[in-house]
């Protein structure tokens, strides 16, 4: 069933759009290039007030959403942030908040959720780069490298996946825990910050575990799915905006006495771009719906979305650059912000090839 936003969701989306256009228009995004965190903490708290961080957390844990489960609401926020290439750790905070709400102890929830939901603190998700864990009595000693980790250097909390003899485990550790070294990385996006997070014999106690041991693998897969859905929604928003800018430009720009938009060669490329855009939107929504409803096909749909959207997004925006002519490869024009964001999104949380291999494993079995 195709996702159709209800009136409340449309209002919520419009509120987010208005907020971003007033508080974080593109010149502000550009100015944040030199900010260490890539965003203004005040902006993030205001976003949290609008509900950006509480959508995947049940009401009894202090969260709240407009739709069942909240993922479709979060998709709307992510699309809007993509349209404005907005800063802020939307995916990691929501993934970690949702994981803590689902598997965290009462003490962990009380310690972590209020800060994340109010925007006072942020969290980073290291779930896709498991580190090694050695069981030491009751404790688990972590060693290894997780990288790149979005908002790793800004995060007060790290949700870490750990590979042990007994299988995967999850722990939530403070960003400044003893033995944790966080090193900021340079990056393509002007405002999205990544870090490498090194664990050197980090001692974690049973109280720091998240969820039951036997649930960890499934929980981490679910977190990956949420992260990918948010990322794909953001990419689709960015594609939409770049496409609109280009369509408008083709109408305004004249050469040889006629608008560029009147040339059939260019019209046909825009038709293809429109098709890629709608197809990307469709598969993103289908993946979000599958994850939101707990469908057994969720993993497959998410990987289909990741496989399809990444290359089509960058190809579409590269073509927007081409259609703009020389101005498209200048710093001054905004298109490169969109190209930066969608390129980063294409290659993180699994490259298209990685996700295609997940699909192949389902169709052909694992490579022995």
């Amino acid at each position: 069933m195709e996702f159709v936003p209800n009136d409340e969701q449309i209002f919520f989306q419009e509120t987010t759009r208005k907020f971003l256009s007033v508080h974080c228009p593109i010149p502000v995004v550009r100015a944040l290039e030199s900010a260490p965190a890539g965003y203004d903490p005040q902006y993030w708290r205001q976003g949290a007030d609008l509900g950006w961080t509480s959508l995947l957390v049940p009401a009894e844990a202090g969260g709240g959403s407009l739709s069942e489960g909240g993922l479709m609401d979060l998709v709307l926020v992510a699309e809007e942030m993509g349209r404005m290439v907005s800063p802020g750790p939307l995916a990691p905070v929501n993934v970690v908040a949702s994981a803590v709400a689902a598997g965290g102890s009462a003490a962990q929830q009380a310690a972590v959720l209020p800060g994340l939901l109010s925007g006072e603190t942020v969290a980073a998700w290291c779930g896709e780069h498991p580190v090694e864990g050695v069981i030491d009595g009751e404790n688990l000693l972590l060693s290894g490298l997780a990288s790149p980790v979005e908002a790793g250097a800004q995060a007060q909390h790290l949700l870490v996946a750990v590979r042990t003899e007994g299988g995967l485990r999850q722990v939530l550790v403070p960003g400044d825990a003893s033995g944790v070294t966080v090193t900021p990385l340079g990056g393509l996006d002007l405002v999205r910050r990544f870090a490498e997070v090194r664990f050197d014999q980090v001692v974690t106690t049973p109280a720091e575990r998240i969820g039951a041991d036997e649930d960890a693998a499934e929980a981490i897969e679910h977190q990956l799915q949420i992260a990918c859905v948010v990322q794909c929604a953001e990419t689709v928003g960015a594609m939409s905006r770049a496409f609109e800018m280009t369509l408008e430009y083709l109408g305004d720009r004249y050469s040889f006495g006629r608008p560029l938009a009147s040339y059939q060669a260019l019209k046909h490329r825009m038709a293809d771009n429109k098709m890629w855009l709608e197809a990307s939107h469709a598969v993103m929504t289908a993946a979000a719906g599958a994850v939101a409803s707990g469908s057994p096909a969720a993993g497959e749909m998410v990987s289909a979305a990741k496989t399809w959207i990444g290359p089509h997004a960058t190809e579409l925006i590269q073509d927007c650059v081409q259609l703009h002519g020389g101005i498209g490869v200048t710093w001054e024009h905004d298109l490169h912000l969109y190209l930066r964001r969608t390129t980063v999104n294409r290659v993180t949380h699994g490259t298209p090839e990685y996700h295609a291999e997940r699909i192949a494993t389902q169709l052909l079995g694992a490579v022995s």
Partner: protein, 412 residues
Amino acid sequence: MTTESVEEFRHRARAWLAEAMPRLSGAMPDRLDDNRRQVERVLQRTLWEGGFAGIGFPAEYGGGGLAPEYQRAFSEESLPYDMPVSLNVPTLGILAATLVDFGTHEQKARHLPAILRGEELWVQFLSEPSGGSDLAGCLTRADRDGDLFIMNGSKIWSSAAFVSDYALCLARTNWDVPKHRGLTMFIVKIHQPGIQVEQIRQVDGSMEFCQEFFDDVPIPVADVLGEVDDGWTVATRLLVHERNAVGGGSPYTSGRSGGHESSGQDDSLAQMVRQQGRAGDTHLRQLVAEAHVRGLVGGALIQRVTSGVSRGQMLPSAGSLLKLFSATNVMRRYEIGLELAGEGAAAWPASSAGVAQRLSEATLWRQGLSLGGGSNEIQRNIISERLLGMPREFAADRDVPYRDVRRGGARG
């Protein structure tokens, strides 16, 4: 019948299908030949008797009168069964759909129940040897003579006309007005004196396509569909139905809408790779996954566009997105098939009629879906002009009485 929920309907359909319809056996569908067509007419009759024919068609004319969700549920449940899928396109999804929109009560009462019973197969007589994409530039003429029109001319590229019963035929009834305003759509009985049907051999050896020649064919005025000289309105709607049906977004088709190969959801590519013992080849795994992903994306796009159009949030011409997607998808899918087949696509043992042979022969036909029902170039014009609002192409024949328009003679 009281209002039945989609889920209740689905359960009833599931039980009925298991009882009444034969299960699909082999991985590959039978070739569409005369025998197969006869089988499908009988299958359609079975659907009719079970009350599951034409789920989306008006109840007044023998259909189910139900919303697209019901049809979709039935189609999903029907996937394991042998269904009369060749009736979907063009009979149900295009011609019957156009009859619903423009037919008089008498026309609908006469034809729709017969169609839903599998007794009438329909085709479209639109393209002409001189025409190609310029459909409205048609030269077949129908001249008024009392209660009759007398038709002369020729139509081409009509699929399976030789085994079909009726056609919707676009002909020029007025030469003194610009081309779009002098056309009329007719209901034409195919097998009658004055109409000669010739089959055309296609690149893959099959004989689906036909050319028809009309020699003083009398057509009763009562068989005009829509208004005289307003046939372009009917043709335009017919084309919308065609793009939806071919793109997979029709509310009137039942069962899988494309062939097995175009749906992307079948297992044939994975099966071929496994049979070759190359399931561990990284490159081939990527290709198999790509084909599968394209099928999933196509399905999601169909849902997005059909939902958007039915809610009025997208223009009906958004169906062109489906048509273009599905045509370009088939192109890529056949390329992937060819690469997977390797040498098997060039030569095969006489005893084998394997997946590789079927795929490589189908590859010759790869551009078929990119040509039929409005070429990809026409779909791109529609998307850019009607969906995106970009300026229309220059047309030398706009607002010129058709008899004064310059015409070439090349076969198109």
